[in-house]
């Protein structure tokens, strides 16, 4: 048996209430590692081309990897997958930190596969190897912090060693932009997996335990961990005095804006003149109360914050992250950081993805601006760019589908289609775009266009090289070498999300470190080349499933605004994305034709 794994997968049938332990196939672990890769394979084994998002057999999978909980730096993460995302129609996928992943393993399981629909609301507990489904209609409707507190009390285990993943009202109400939250403030945010969990009437999963997994080579692991820890600590980004710890991810606000890549007003602009008012520096100066880190993390990039007074007052909360500040702030034309903190707090309470929420509000604001939404549809709601109160109001309206909120709960694509103006939905494959304007950053545009889960920045994070000079500088305006770089980062991302460790380690570590750590834990013979091949296999398996759902070249495209409307002002004025000029090269390098892996490629990777 390979080291580092718990050796069990919990299979939950919510229709029958049956719980079964399954053994993970060792060959599958060797080929897909864990986390995202393992989850994709589990979904693929029961794949159906005509799957619909709220079908009972749309699987919901929580998956850890061999590094999860293994005392490896940043090993507090896990991955969530759904066979079909209600937001995108592709495979659904998200990744989260906190401590839930490690405690699922300490409870004795590598992964959970959830099928069926429960008749009544239930929650699942897994405590020291014992799994149980509990009928609990009384917790349905609770917010994320409320249900977390309630279930921690009911569990009766040491709260420090207990962790809860759950949905909020947004997931229960099948909002297509709802997410799965854990440890109150952490989110497997994207692709609407909260709605899949809600459709199954599964409110929460409680995990706790003391089962520690053995690594194959503890001495080698100690050596590899020491090496990685030194690299992380000595690195100016990830070290104790590094930018991530001191300012959090929000440090990027001013930097990205200085490059003219901080989109505003639904990507009508790529520069926000008031960015400094919502920057990481401003957050540190006016709203920060402390820092917080995920399980086993030496970086500690999380923010504890508050808003002391005023209409957006919050006594204590966490965040906001860079992406959230962009989405709910500049993308809505809102400069007030206190309003963003409040809206972020609501998103966490109700279980909503902040990026998709902000993108959807911005889309709605532009639809109103352009006269596409008739006044009577808004029922008196005054929705305008730059209005902090309106932006905050959108969040609870979307969570409860209150009034116009029912439209916001659809996400931007379906919202804009409803008002016959799809060009105002700034999305790829139905998922709202993140916080880097792709017009002056060519690689990230290619990542947005080709990412299997839609408008995504972290599954192929080209930004460190294109904007931050890590590990080396690549000219953001140039298309040269970008298909190669995007592919490398996507396959590396698949490895990281399958291990499962944090993407932020990649500021300090590379494939040799990841290969060494995974070899020491599992006992598999690994090197950078073999590991990257596994990453390629994982990316291709996800692509293959999307192809079977009908995705191809057509969906690998940016909204027209980003390829046809040059950035109108700011430092990057006059730039457009050149994705259409890069995509053929990308496909050629991938071994794909029109967005579809060839038979040979699938055979080479052992997929088909």
């Amino acid at each position: 048996m390979l080291g580092g794994y718990a050796g069990k997968i919990l299979d939950v049938d919510l229709e029958t209430g049956e719980l079964k332990d399954k053994m993970p196939d060792e060959e599958i672990l060797r080929r897909y590692i864990g986390g995202k890769g393992l989850g994709l394979k589990l979904i693929y084994d029961e794949f159906r081309d005509d799957m619909q998002p709220f079908d009972p057999d749309n699987l919901l999978v929580f998956s850890t990897g061999p590094a999860t909980g293994a005392r490896v730096p940043t090993s507090g993460r896990f991955h969530v997958l759904t066979s079909k995302s209600p937001l995108t129609g592709a495979v659904g996928s998200g990744n989260s930190g906190g401590k839930w992943g490690p405690y699922l393993k300490f409870a004795g399981y590598d992964a959970i596969v959830i099928r069926g629909i429960s008749e009544k609301p239930v929650y699942l507990t897994i405590i020291d190897g014992k799994a149980e489904l509990v009928e609990a209609p009384e917790i349905w409707g609770m917010t994320v912090p409320a249900v977390t507190e309630e279930l921690l009390n009911r569990a009766g285990t040491d709260p420090k060693k207990t962790s809860i993943a759950c949905i909020g009202p947004a997931g229960e109400n099948l909002s297509l932009i709802s997410c799965i939250m854990n440890d109150e403030y952490r989110a497997a945010g994207r692709t609407g997996s909260g709605a899949v969990m809600g459709s199954k009437k599964l409110k929460a999963i409680v995990v706790s335990g003391n089962q520690r997994q053995k690594s194959a080579n503890p001495e080698m692991l100690a050596e590899k961990v020491a090496e990685s820890m030194s690299l992380i600590r000595e690195n100016p980004v990830t070290g104790p005095k590094g930018g991530l710890h001191v300012y959090g991810t929000a440090v990027l606000v001013n930097i990205v804006n200085a490059h003219g890549a901080y989109s505003s007003r639904n990507f009508q602009q790529s520069y926000f003149p008031e960015a400094d008012e919502q920057s990481g520096e401003k957050l540190a100066e006016s709203y920060l109360t402390g820092t917080t880190g995920c399980w086993g993390c030496p970086i500690v990039c999380g923010r504890k914050s508050f808003v002391p007074d005023g209409p957006f007052s919050v006594k204590y909360t966490e965040g906001p992250e860079y992406e959230t500040i962009f989405a709910l702030g500049s993308n809505c034309g809102v400069k007030e950081l206190d309003a963003v903190i409040k809206a972020n707090h609501f998103c966490n309470e109700f279980g909503i993805d902040t990026i998709s929420m902000g993108g959807t509000i911005a889309c709605a604001m532009e639809l109103v601006e352009k006269g596409k939404i008739p006044e009577e549809k808004l029922l008196g709601f005054n929705l305008r760019f730059g209005d902090p109160g309106a932006m905050v109001e959108c969040v609870w309206r979307a969570a409860y589908k209150a009034g116009f909120g029912a439209d916001l709960a659809l996400g931007s694509r379906k919202l804009a289609e409803k008002y016959q103006a799809p060009e105002y939905a700034i999305n790829v494959k139905g998922m709202e775009l993140p916080a880097y304007d792709p017009r002056p950053i060519q690689g990230i545009g290619l990542e947005y266009a080709t990412s299997n889960r839609g408008g995504d920045h972290v599954y192929g994070y080209t930004i460190p090289s294109e904007l931050l000079g890590i590990p080396e500088k690549r000219d953001p305006y140039s298309t040269e070498g970008k298909p190669e770089w995007t592919i490398f980062m996507q396959d590396l991302g698949s490895v990281i999300n399958s291990s499962v460790i944090c993407l932020f380690t990649s500021f300090a570590l590379g494939l040799p470190q990841y290969a060494g750590i995974l070899q020491a834990i599992t006992g598999m013979e690994l090197d950078p080349e073999k590991l990257l091949k596994i990453g390629e296999r994982i990316t291709n398996l996800e692509r293959h499933m999307n192809n079977r759902y009908g995705f191809n070249r057509v969906q690998d495209a940016l909204p027209k605004r980003l390829t046809a409307e040059p950035t109108p002002a700011g430092p990057s004025r006059g730039q457009v994305s050149h994705v259409p000029e890069m995509i053929d090269k990308y496909y050629e390098l991938r071994g794909w034709i029109d967005g579809v892996p060839t038979e040979e490629k699938l055979k080479e990777l052992g997929i088909a």
Binding site: P236, V246, I255, G260, E281, L468, F507, G570, P571
Partner: protein, 100 residues
Amino acid sequence: MGNNGKMKINVKFLASIREIAGAHEMQFELNSGYTVKDLLEFLELRFGAEFKEAAGKPFEDENPRLRFLVNGRDIDFLRGPGTELKEGDLVVLIPPVGGG
């Protein structure tokens, strides 16, 4: 070109370097023809040892502690430290940071 062989340049300081400069953005009147390298020397004199320590040798160090953007472009994609500044330019100083 400004008056009397002088030009006004705006400089933005981000993250930790802002704490040393004590301001987010400042305007300086410099001699026309100044390059980014000249600006760095000017700032080292202006802000002293703490700034110098924080900046390191950004044009020589293997892992520079400071990056320079001129009007939104990293100087490595312009003319490097020899990039000439002109009236009204915005220079942004960025320490090593990351995020997501």
